[in-house]
């Protein structure tokens, strides 16, 4: 077969075009891109339509190089096109159902009342011949797609649901026509036409697919809601004028005005004004965040009070919201190990059913009562019709789709189905202390000067040395000095000693500032300050010693407040059945004080950042399945080592890209929610798989006639058709129950 790639059509929004001359510049830029066969720029809409085999990014780069900005038109537009296509298909399925039902159901209802002519009269045969022709029309119109699919997949050495439906209904129609045209070929007891069964089965399966489609539409609601967050227009400031333009036309670095009550259109940095912004729709964080000049704002969030100007820093597919949507979409397509058995079964399912159908045929032929031919046909047809590979194939992905989407509503981004399943199996959760259990914004709480020193002098030297550090504790000390209007001195030879503290030269004196280990390393005598430090640590404060020219100058104690909801979140983790461990580089006494406060089971204190991953490994070697919660950057090795890494941070963080699970709000409740959603999803998958397996494992023998020797009953193929149609609907509906998930669930 020859390969003839069709031309892609890419739509781009273009910013910066001010005159008709710009149009030809952009058009030329596009035409010069290798692979472009045609390009048309619409000046009024500020869009370009490009045909050819070129990646949209290449086109955007070409336009940027010519002095304009561009972005690919995607997102909401794609979604509405998808919805329109789905609606049209849904309607076509309903039409097919109605046509098949109008023919099939009256025939089926008339027969038990003796309203149909007998086959053994000439007029009766003519009547049935007409009915045969009408039902053939039904099969072609309402069931043609099953027959086409069956034939095509047969030629490709593949078998699918279409194969079963086409064989089942096709056999019924052919047999019935045989009875009508050549009645003498068929024993008199077996002279029965099954035209109505074929039509009704086709009707029911079309209805089932339509209902399944309806239910499926709901499974992607989370994505629709995320897409819905994106505003359609932005108020840009160009040449001093404010103009509303479609969001797709916003260029990089453009200045945008956001008024109270409006959504922020793209990601950027505030350059003028201040406001409080509700980021809950993106992060799940309920409290609005105060924003001022220099702060980042995220597209899709809601500006509550003030008006401000901001500069667009990320547009189109690069915005946090677009990346989140993409990540959720990708995760929804993946499957965890739990679904692999079903995958293996569904891969061989249809040929196995075909073999069972032949065995059924032979069993009735060899052992069945008269009229054998009728029994053979009915049982074989029922086996083909009742077996539904769709329910089995859908069981896992549909639950993953809803589960991952539900998590996104809680501000939890799950990387893939495997992480979702694994999160429910965790036995131990390791929490990084700073920024996870605590706020991560420490403040100076106590100053203990040594003999000959006072608080101001102590803080002056401490602030002088820490001015060069980027550590969160340093920030606390510098802020405390600023608050007291202390002017720090300049420090030289600054050196950070990982896990210990810092050293520098201040006013010609060698200064060390850090923990007791640092002091011991440099033989600094601490005297009675050791007891004082222990007291502070027991009150969850982190004491740091200052030594100047080999003599201790005092203690600067810093405390990082515990997040208000850490305790309740840890209680939830305990309720799920998890052991909670805290890991920190902080000293043991401080760490244990924090642990006592929030109810942590085990503390790993004074752990150097590089050793955190080893601690996780040690826990794994003890047989624990470990979840690690950290800020996603400093704790990267430990997050990677853990069975599930939870990056806690903001939606704009790099953590979105790196962790198994990214929590967009700072609360530990996100971890409990993620685990609860994981448990609920895995439970839902198991229910689906159980339903699909039981359905087929029980349904197929019953259809084959397993109950006949005991009860004399044989399953009606029409009921089998209805059951098949409903099986996928049931699986999708059960998955939809996950949409009503409420956080707070526990392991069962």
């Amino acid at each position: 077969m020859s390969v003839s790639p069709p031309e892609n059509t890419t739509r781009l929004s273009i910013s910066g075009m001010t005159c008709a001359g710009c149009v030809s510049t952009v058009e030329n830029a596009l035409k010069n891109v290798p692979g472009v066969t045609e390009s048309a720029v619409n000046f009024a809409e500020h869009t370009a339509t490009v045909r050819g085999s070129v990646d949209a990014k290449v086109l955007v780069a070409a336009i940027t190089a010519s002095g304009y900005s561009a972005a690919e038109l995607r997102g909401a537009e794609d979604e509405s096109e998808k919805e329109a296509a789905e609606l049209s298909y849904y309607r076509s399925l309903l039409r097919k159902f109605i046509v098949a039902a109008v023919v099939g159901f009256p025939l089926m209802l008339a027969e038990p009342f003796g309203l149909m002519p007998m086959l053994d009269t000439d007029s009766g045969r003519v009547f049935w011949l007409v009915i045969g022709a009408v039902t053939l029309g039904v099969l072609v119109y309402a069931g043609g797609h099953f027959f086409r699919g069956a034939w095509k997949s047969f030629r490709a050495h593949n078998a699918n649901m279409d194969t079963l439906i086409a064989l089942g209904t096709g056999a019924a129609w052919v047999y019935s026509m045989l009875v009508v045209l050549f009645p003498d070929m068929v024993p008199s007891l077996a002279r029965h036409a099954y035209f109505e069964a074929a039509a009704v089965i086709i009707a029911l399966i079309n209805l089932g697919q339509a209902l399944e489609m309806r239910a499926r539409g709901k499974t992607s609601e989370a994505i629709k809601r995320l897409i819905g967050l994106q505003p359609k227009t932005a108020r840009v400031v160009r040449d001093g004028k404010e103009t509303d333009i479609p969001i797709s036309e916003v260029g990089l670095d453009e200045t945008i005005r956001v008024r109270p009550g409006e959504k922020i259109p793209v990601d950027g940095v505030i350059i003028e004004g201040h406001s409080s912004v509700d980021e809950s729709m993106l992060t799940g964080e309920p409290m609005p965040v105060e924003k001022k000049t220099g702060d980042d704002v995220t597209g899709g969030t809601f500006n509550k009070s003030g008006s401000f100007l901001f500069q667009a820093k990320r547009i189109g597919a690069d915005t946090a919201l677009a990346r989140i949507i993409e990540m959720v979409r990708r995760a929804q397509s993946t499957k965890p190990a739990i679904g692999r058995l079903a995958d293996r079964i569904s891969a061989v399912f249809v040929p196995v059913v075909l073999i069972i159908a032949v065995l059924t045929f032979l069993a009735w032929f060899n052992f069945g009562p008269e009229p054998k031919l009728s029994y053979m046909l009915v049982a074989t047809m029922t086996v083909l019709i009742i077996a539904c590979p769709c329910a089995l194939g859908l069981a896992t992905p549909i639950s993953i789709m809803v589960g991952v989407g539900k998590a996104a509503e809680y501000g939890i981004l799950i990387r893939n189905g495997e992480a979702l399943q694994q999160a429910g199996k965790l036995t131990t959760i390791v929490l990084d202390k700073t920024g996870t259990v605590t706020e991560g914004r420490p403040a100076v709480t106590t100053l203990v000067p040594a003999a000959g020193w006072d608080e101001t002098k102590l803080l002056t030297v401490a602030a002088s040395i820490e001015a060069g550090s980027e550590h969160p504790l340093a920030e606390a000390i510098v802020s405390a000095a600023q608050a007291r209007q202390i002017k720090s001195s300049s420090a030289s030879d600054f050196q950070a000693i990982t896990g210990h503290g810092v050293s520098a030269t201040v006013e010609g004196k060698k200064v060390y500032f850090g923990n007791a280990r640092l002091m011991a390393q440099h033989n600094v005598e601490l005297g009675n300050l050791v007891t004082r430090a222990e007291e502070l640590a027991a009150r969850a404060q982190t004491p740091m010693f200052l030594a100047v020219d080999g003599f201790v100058a005092g203690i600067v104690a810093v405390a990082d407040p515990i997040k208000p909801d850490s305790k309740s979140a840890i209680a939830r983790l305990h309720a799920i059945g998890l052991k909670v461990v805290m890991i920190t580089g902080d000293n043991r006494a401080t760490a244990e004080a924090v642990a006592r406060e929030v109810g942590i089971d085990e503390v790993m204190a004074e752990v150097l950042p590089g050793d955190k991953a080893d601690k996780v490994t040690a826990l794994q070697q003890r047989g624990e399945i470990v979840g690690m919660v950290g800020d996603g950057i400093n704790d990267a090795p430990a997050l990677a080592q853990a069975d599930v890494g939870f990056a806690i941070g903001t939606g704009t963080d790099i953590a979105i890209e790196s962790a198994d699970v990214a929590l967009m709000r700072g609360s530990l409740h996100g971890v409990a929610d993620a685990i609860a959603i994981s448990l609920a999803t895995v439970r839902n998958i198991k229910q689906n798989l159980f339903g699909a397996f039981v359905y087929n494992v029980l349904g197929i023998p019953v259809a084959a006639g397993a109950l006949f020797p005991f009860t004399g009953l044989l399953l009606n193929p029409v009921i089998a058709g209805a059951a098949m149609a409903m099986s996928s609907v049931t699986v999708v509906s059960n998955a939809n129950r996950l949409r009503w998930f409420k956080s707070g669930a526990t392991r069962t």
Partner: protein, 120 residues
């Protein structure tokens, strides 16, 4: 005689099912490396469904979905951890790199649509 004939015919049909669906395979289409290879998604099958590609090199597959049923809406390369949404009527390019020689299956979410990349 009649009984034997029908039973033998039944067994022959079963043998045929096993042979056709499991043992025999359609011929793989060789990928020349000149531009994307087009795969039509329609009527329950990928056409072509078996594609021979060089191992260790990126290959671009252009999926053209014609079947509007939701079954066809995704293409998953499980072992390569790649997936793509396939909107109806809009060609979608998916670039994959089979790392070593072997067979790499790609399917729809329900595994009804099935194709294989044969990396050599």
């Amino acid at each position: 005689m009649n009984t034997w004939a029908i039973n033998l015919a039944g067994m022959a049909v079963m043998a045929l099912i096993v042979w056709w669906f499991w043992l025999s395979r359609s011929k793989a289409q060789h990928f020349s490396g000149a531009g994307p290879i087009e795969i039509i998604v329609d009527n329950g099958v990928y056409t072509p469904a078996r594609i021979e590609v060089p191992a260790g090199q990126p290959v671009t597959l252009r999926f053209v979905r014609k079947d509007p049923s939701p079954c066809a809406e995704k293409a998953l390369f499980d072992s390569l951890e790649v997936s793509a949404d396939l909107p109806v009527g809009k060609p979608v390019d998916v670039t994959v790199t089979p790392p070593v020689p072997g067979e790499y299956e790609f399917t729809c979410q329900m595994r009804m649509y099935r194709g294989t990349l044969v990396a050599r």
